[in-house]
Structure formats: structure tokens, C-alpha cells
């Protein structure tokens, strides 16, 4: 079995990770070649069939002749190399070169680059020869005048820098929703994705109880990234999934923006099957059945078949419109949703309670926001509304560590932000029990008790 989420496949979008820790999304076309700038270039055909996650090295030998245009600088052509599979295990310093290290940097002051005997030209010459990046880096260490005087710590830093500069390595990975987010953050598109983080999305998917068989109401202002996270959890990249789940996406503009889904490997048919989009206007002021029926009446199959030429085309286009209208009516007025999930910058108190009217009792509501303050405002509104149970504001932050043994510590710097979530459940208030004459007092105490129960 070699599925598109396990093995590198033709016509697939994948994410390529470079030694510089940057990443790049590419589409794998038959006979295509991919330029990685200073890290070289390779032929698409050469990587097809390897497991996703494989790490390769580009090398050049006498036979290397082709070249490809640099994706960044036009008119700069990069030679296309051959590739070899790497083990994926990074060689440690000791394995590269049996070098000593110093206890401290005491003897090493302000010498800058003078100590490196290999000139940039020398290194460029070496690079053009068919040496592996490990060999190249070993040579660089060898020619370093005071490498041994560095502390092990500085040595590793130096090596890492050199590797990022000279290693012609790359990894081909599955373009998961998290990788796509990674890529966008890396590109600086933080505002576009509302400053969301992988951990916030993970929490949202679990709190939202997102399952392969649910029908979810959603606002997604991240260009489809939130929808992609949901699709991945629901269908796991499987275009032929038998699961019946649906996402109904309500949008504030005339047309929905789900541009990022083009990077996913879901087919157009798949997306049509599992995603419905509908504007706020159509959702909240949906046409009535009467209205659309007064504009158009479907013919029987035979009648439609008998239509001729232009009339037939016109009929089928109108039929399509009619079906869309029926779907709008269904989504806007009939479905009781299995959850509401939002990532929108619209004023939440004005939009969330109204959308929640269509959510089934006992189902979760999860709202993502870049800012805690907007969720605070929303939580006070929901708290005063008996249809919402226990609104909570949540924050989750992932703190990565350096995992060099003997030097374990949290990374010194990381991205701030990541957003916040509001979580609650849609509930159905009990009708006020009428029993005793002091009904009014009882009603008042209902509100208070219910609230009290929630805050406890």
C-alpha cells in the first residue's frame, strides 16, 4: 500500500524542508525539476515513490548537465543534481571529526573570520566537486585554526551554522495542515492566519469534538487553513473516504476565500462533497421555498430531456441555481449542527449567539481569536444567555526544548502569541416550571441559580 499520505506521489503538493530550517511548498509534476536556490536543484521523478519524510542529499558528478531556473532570482539558472537517500540521522560532532573542545571560550576573543583558512572561493570550489556536505564540513573544521579552543557548545553552534549554509540536503514531507501553518508563519503571514498556533488548533479540534461523521458550522477567516485542519482530522487526507462529515462555511464577503485549500491534496470533487459555503446574508436571510419555487419549477426528467439547444442549457443552469437555493435553505434553516467552530474578526457578541441558534443541544461551540479581550467580551454575553453552558476562555502554549543531551533547556526564544479559545456547550433552557403562585420569584431565581451553577 502506498497512499498519497504515506509515499511521495506524482501531482502532489509536498513541503520541502531545507537545512536553513526554511520550508517551501512544491507541486510534484512529471519530469519537473525543483530548485532549492543555494541548496541545489533536483528532478521530481527521482523522489517519487519514497516514503514521505525521506531526507535526500543533492550531489553533482561529471554527468550532471541539466539546469533549472532559480525560483527566487529569475535568469539565475541552477544545475540539477542527482540525489541520494540519507539515513535521516544527523551526524554528531564526534562522528564528523574526533575533535577536542575547551571548557570555556577564554582563549577565543574577537578573532572573527580570520581564523578560517579556507576562503569563500576555496569553499565554492569544494562545493562544485562531488563532495558530500558532511565531507565539506569536515574539511572546513579541519581548516579552522582554533576550532578546538571553542567550547562544545560553540562548536555545535558553528557546525549548525555551516550546515545551514553548505549542506545540500532536503526532506520531502506530507503537507499536513500543521506544515501549511508552519510554512505561512515562516513566510511572515501571521496576520493572515489570525496568529493561530498548532497547539490552539489541536485544542480546538478536540474541544469541538470534530469527527468524521459530523456536520459542522464554521466561520473561517484564515483563507481555508481552519477548514484544512478540520478536513485532515475528519478524513486524514483520504480522497476516497467513506465518511459522511460536512463543513458548512459561512462567510462575510460575497465570495468565500478558501485559497489555501488549493495546497491540500483533496480533489475538487472531494471538497464539493464535504464543504458547503454560504454568505452571512444567505444564511441569516435565506430564501423561502416559496420564493424559489415561484422563480423556477423543475421539469420531469423526460420533459427536461426533450428540451432543445439553448433552452436545454438554460434549463440546466437554472436547475443548478435551484439546487443551490435548496441547499442554502437546508443549511440555513433545517440542519441542527454538531458543532460551531469560528475563526473570525467580526464582533463576536453580534455573530456567535446568532449562529449558535442552529447548533444542536449538547454540542460544543469553540471560537478562536487572536485576542483574549474579544473572547472576554463574548464570554460575558454568553454567560448571561441560558442557551450557553459554562463558557470558558482557554489558552494553550507549546514550549519547545533544545534536545541536545547534557544541554537540555527550553529554547531561548520562541514566537509569542498563538491565540485563545472560548469553549462552551449549546444547551436548551428548561421551560419555567409553573406550579406555585409565586411564579415570578421562581423565574428570577431560575436565572440566578442557573448562573450560580455555572460559575461554581
Amino acid at each position: 500500500m502506498g497512499e498519497s499520505w504515506t509515499h511521495i506521489t506524482l501531482d502532489q503538493h509536498v513541503i520541502i524542508r531545507l537545512p536553513s530550517e526554511k520550508c517551501k511548498i512544491v507541486h510534484l509534476r512529471l519530469n519537473g525539476s525543483i530548485s532549492l536556490g543555494k541548496f541545489g536543484a533536483f528532478n521530481v521523478n527521482d523522489v517519487i515513490g519514497y516514503p514521505l519524510g525521506s531526507k535526500f542529499e543533492i550531489y553533482y558528478d561529471d554527468e550532471t548537465t541539466e539546469d533549472v531556473e532559480d525560483s527566487k532570482k529569475k535568469n539565475n539558472r541552477i544545475a540539477v543534481g542527482k540525489i541520494r537517500l540519507l539515513s535521516g540521522i544527523d551526524k554528531k560532532l564526534e562522528q564528523l571529526n574526533g575533535v577536542d573542545s575547551s571548557e570555556n571560550n577564554k582563549e577565543l576573543i574577537n578573532l572573527g573570520n580570520d581564523i578560517q583558512k579556507l576562503s569563500t572561493a576555496d569553499i565554492e570550489a569544494l562545493k562544485k566537486q562531488s563532495v558530500s556536505s558532511d565531507e565539506l564540513i569536515a574539511k572546513i573544521i579541519e581548516s579552522h585554526g582554533s576550532f578546538k579552543k571553542k567550547t562544545a557548545f560553540s562548536q555545535e553552534k558553528y557546525l549548525k551554522r555551516k550546515k545551514q549554509k553548505f549542506a545540500k540536503e532536503f526532506t520531502v514531507d506530507y503537507l499536513s495542515s500543521a506544515s501549511l501553518l508552519d510554512y505561512l508563519i515562516d513566510k511572515g503571514d501571521i496576520q493572515r492566519v489570525m496568529d493561530m498556533s498548532e497547539e490552539s488548533m489541536g485544542l480546538l479540534l478536540n474541544l469541538g469534538n470534530i469527527r468524521p461523521n459530523g456536520t459542522y458550522l464554521c466561520m473561517d477567516e484564515t483563507g481555508g487553513l481552519l477548514a484544512y485542519f478540520m478536513l485532515e482530522r475528519m478524513f486524514g487526507g483520504d480522497n476516497d473516504s467513506k465518511h459522511t462529515g460536512k463543513i458548512v462555511i459561512v462567510h462575510e464577503n460575497e465570495h468565500v476565500n478558501l485559497d489555501l485549500l488549493k495546497f491540500s491534496n483533496y480533489s475538487e470533487e472531494f471538497i464539493k462533497r464535504h464543504i458547503v459555503t454560504i454568505s452571512l446574508l444567505d444564511f441569516f436571510e435565506a430564501p423561502t421555498l416559496h420564493e424559489i419555487n415561484s422563480n423556477f419549477t423543475p421539469l420531469s426528467k423526460e420533459e427536461a430531456f426533450d428540451l432543445k439547444g439553448g433552452k436545454k442549457n438554460t434549463y440546466y443552469r437554472k436547475l443548478k441555481w435551484y439546487k443551490i437555493q435548496l441547499e442554502i435553505i437546508k443549511c440555513a434553516t433545517e440542519i441542527e449542527y454538531d458543532g460551531l467552530v469560528t475563526a473570525t474578526t467580526l464582533n463576536l457578541p453580534s455573530v456567535v449567539p446568532k449562529l449558535s441558534e442552529r447548533v444542536h443541544g449538547s454540542r460544543p461551540i469553540v471560537c478562536f481569536s487572536q485576542f483574549k479581550e474579544t473572547l472576554l467580551e463574548l464570554s460575558h454575553v454568553l454567560y448571561d444567555d441560558l442557551r450557553f453552558l459554562a463558557p470558558s476562555i482557554l489558552e494553550t502554549r507549546c514550549r519547545p526544548y533544545q534536545t541536545v543531551r547534557g544541554k537540555l533547556h527550553p529554547l531561548m526564544t520562541m514566537r509569542g502569541g498563538g491565540g485563545y479559545l472560548l469553549w462552551c456547550h449549546r444547551v436548551i433552557p428548561a421551560p419555567e416550571p409553573i406550579e406555585e403562585p409565586e411564579g415570578e420569584t421562581a423565574a428570577a431565581s431560575q436565572t440566578e441559580n442557573a448562573k450560580k451553577a455555572r460559575i461554581e
Partner: protein, 386 residues
């Protein structure tokens, strides 16, 4: 049918439901028309729930003060189930479990190994999303408890297999004769697991990691997460991961926080100044009154002057209750009382879970060779072009 994997509309006899009393008090019940759910506020007969929609609030009049008491009846989800567990139980909390599931790309293509099962709360979350979950518990009593719970929750008929096993000593392979929920056919001798995601919540994951090669999928990148409270465990784990060829090692901590929404009274400087002025005015009035009394006294006896004047000239605690009271001092004011202005604020929980465990992730691809099927398609395309 599992109450965790199918959306139910209406509360029915035999359902597993969660009764929400308060945030810290959520109780599972099995709906039984003859039964009653008792709280200290009063009793809720199940028959009043049956036929209502999930999410319904149920009201009764309390015996004591004739006010109303309320509960909500919810359909269980793994997250609500986690909240309903007693606090003393060691569980993987939702911020951790949801991150782990996200990082291991859990979805309908996932086959997951979990060791150990523990309270079973994470098992529920896995079961919701993955194709198949193999969970291992070495503690015989906890195994029996979890087996029963998974059965009651309908998980065993769906996608969960639980096995009693010390995976550190004996690995993960499930064989005929093992204490397990697997039913073997006559011809089967063992289960072909082929997991692509593994979660190890064990005191010494380094003892279990060497056994993984036998049970993980050979045809794809496999993800692993070790959940360890102490940093020294992480260190040992890192050593073994490297030794056994696991790569892309990353270690993180997840910090989940919850905030309360509160209101703080807006008390302006102007109001505070007005209040002080009011106090001063009343005090001066008092002083004047006393001065008059004093003058009367002085006419009687010059000696008393000293003590009385002292009282007047030195600041005195104010006895008269001030009339201008913009902040309602001295009275109990409900937060949000509409007679006052309020500022919305967030307050962190009084006690926070500052640490759960360190999460160590690693990945491994057993079979790194090219997939013949994919290469075949490639070759076919190439020959077509020629």
C-alpha cells in the same frame, strides 16, 4: 454503537449520559426509566429526561426553600468525560492530549498504540478519531476496570482493543492466550498491529521503545510520543531513541491555562474626591456642633477646655455614616450590579496546572525504499510520453 462516536438527538432509555451539575461536578449515568439522579439540591427522575433533546436543562423545585434547581443532560464526549473524572486520578489533560493527537496527525488513517491505558480518558479521545486503537495496561485491576468501561461505552465493538501487558518487559505483540479483548479465530495466532502512531505514558519508556519495531507500520513514517513528568526520564528516552534509529526528535511542554471572566467596579478619582469632600463637610458640621457645645461648657468651667478641644482639633474616626457612597462601601454588592459601572476583566484560575509532563516526539521510517506501485505509475507515465 458507541455513545462517543455517534451523535444522538434525543435522550433514550439505556443511554450513557453526563449530568452537568457544575464545572467541577459532572456525573455519568445510564438512563433508566425507574431511576432517579440525586443531588444535594434535590432528586431528578430519569423519566423526566427521556425523550428530551440532549443538552436539555432539567428543572425541579428544591425541597428546602422551594427555589428551582437545575441540571443539564449532555451526551458524553471524550473532553467532557475527562472533566467528569475525579480530580485525584492521574489523567492526561485535554491541552496535552489534543496537542499529541495533532502532532501525531491522528485521523481515520491512524492506527495507534497507547501504553498504559490508565484512567482511559485519552483512549476515548483517540477512539473518536482513529481507525484502530491498541491500548495496553500492565496493572491487572486497572485493566479489568478499563475493559469494563470500554465495553460499557461501546468502544470495544468499534475500534478499541485493550490488552493486559507489561510492555517494557514483554513488548506489544498480542498473541492467542493473552489477557486481551481480541477474539482470535482458529487460524489466527497473533494480531498484526502495524501502528503509525504511538503514545507511551510509562515510567520507563526506554524499556518499551526497543520493542516497537515489531509492531509499527513498515510502509510509512511512524510517530511516537513519550509522556514523562521528570526531565531525567526525557534524557534517558533521548538516548534510547537515538540508539534505535528514531529521528526528528523534539521535546516540548504544553501549558494550558483557563481564565474566569469577571467584572471590576469602575471607581473614578472624581467620585473618590466627592466622597472625601462629603466626609469632610459632615465632619466640619460635627465640629461646629461640638464647638457650640464646647462654648456652652466653657461658660461653665474653663478647665474642661483641654480635653474637649483636643477631640475637636485632632482627626477623629468618622461616626456619622457618610451619605455620598458612590462605591457602595459597607454594603454587599453583587459583581455586575447595574447601579455601578463595571470593567470586564479576566482572572486566572486560583490554582493552575503548572506542569503535567514533558512530551518527547520522534519519528521513524522502517522501510525507506521506493514504493513499487508509485514507481510503476511513474514509469507508465514516462513511457506514455515517449
Amino acid at each position: 454503537m458507541s455513545y462517543f462516536t455517534e451523535y444522538k438527538d434525543v435522550i433514550q432509555e439505556g443511554d450513557l449520559a453526563l449530568i452537568w451539575i457544575s464545572r467541577d461536578n459532572i456525573k455519568p449515568i445510564t438512563i433508566d426509566v425507574t431511576a432517579t439522579f440525586n443531588t444535594r439540591y434535590g432528586s431528578f427522575p430519569h423519566k423526566d429526561m427521556i425523550g428530551k433533546k440532549y443538552g436539555s436543562q432539567i428543572a425541579i423545585r428544591t425541597k428546602t426553600n422551594k427555589k428551582f434547581a437545575f441540571i443539564h443532560v449532555l451526551q458524553p464526549t471524550p473532553e467532557l468525560w475527562t472533566l467528569s473524572l475525579p480530580h485525584r486520578t492521574q489523567i492526561v489533560y485535554t491541552p496535552d492530549s489534543s496537542y499529541i493527537m495533532q502532532r501525531l496527525n491522528c485521523g481515520p488513517s491512524s492506527t495507534v498504540i497507547e501504553a498504559g491505558t490508565g484512567s482511559g480518558s485519552f483512549s476515548h479521545a483517540f477512539a473518536r478519531s482513529v481507525k484502530q486503537l491498541y491500548t495496553f495496561e500492565f496493572h491487572p485491576v486497572r485493566y479489568e476496570q478499563a475493559l469494563k468501561e470500554f465495553k460499557d461505552h461501546g468502544l470495544l465493538e468499534e475500534n478499541v482493543i485493550i490488552t493486559q501487558r507489561d510492555v517494557c518487559a514483554n513488548g506489544f505483540t498480542i498473541k492467542k492466550g493473552d489477557l486481551t479483548s481480541v477474539t482470535f479465530s482458529d487460524t489466527e495466532e497473533s494480531v498484526d498491529i502495524g501502528a503509525n502512531a504511538i503514545f507511551l505514558d510509562l515510567p520507563s519508556p526506554w524499556d518499551a521503545i526497543p520493542h516497537l519495531d515489531e509492531v509499527i507500520s513498515h510502509n510509512e513514517k511512524v510517530g511516537l510520543c513519550c509522556f514523562s513528568p521528570c526531565i531525567e526520564q526525557v534524557d534517558k528516552t533521548l538516548e534510547v531513541l537515538e540508539k534505535f534509529g528514531w529521528t526528528n526528535v523534539e521535546m516540548v511542554e504544553i501549558q494550558g491555562k483557563q481564565y474566569e471572566s469577571r467584572r471590576q467596579m469602575v471607581r473614578t478619582l472624581d467620585d473618590a474626591m466627592e466622597r472625601l469632600k462629603d466626609i469632610k463637610k459632615r465632619k466640619l458640621e460635627g465640629v461646629e456642633r461640638r464647638k457650640r457645645q464646647l462654648e456652652n461648657l466653657e461658660n461653665d468651667d474653663g478647665n474642661i477646655e483641654d480635653e474637649e478641644e483636643k477631640k475637636i482639633l485632632e482627626p477623629q474616626p468618622l461616626t456619622e455614616k457618610t451619605k455620598y457612597n458612590p462605591f457602595g462601601k459597607g454594603s454587599r454588592i453583587r459583581e455586575g450590579d447595574s447601579n455601578y459601572e463595571w470593567k470586564q476583566v479576566t482572572k486566572m484560575e486560583t490554582e493552575v496546572k503548572s506542569h503535567t509532563s514533558y512530551l518527547t516526539f520522534a519519528f521513524k521510517t522502517m522501510n525507506k525504499t521506493r514504493n513499487e506501485e508509485k514507481v510503476g505509475i511513474l514509469l507508465a507515465s514516462l513511457s506514455k510520453k515517449k
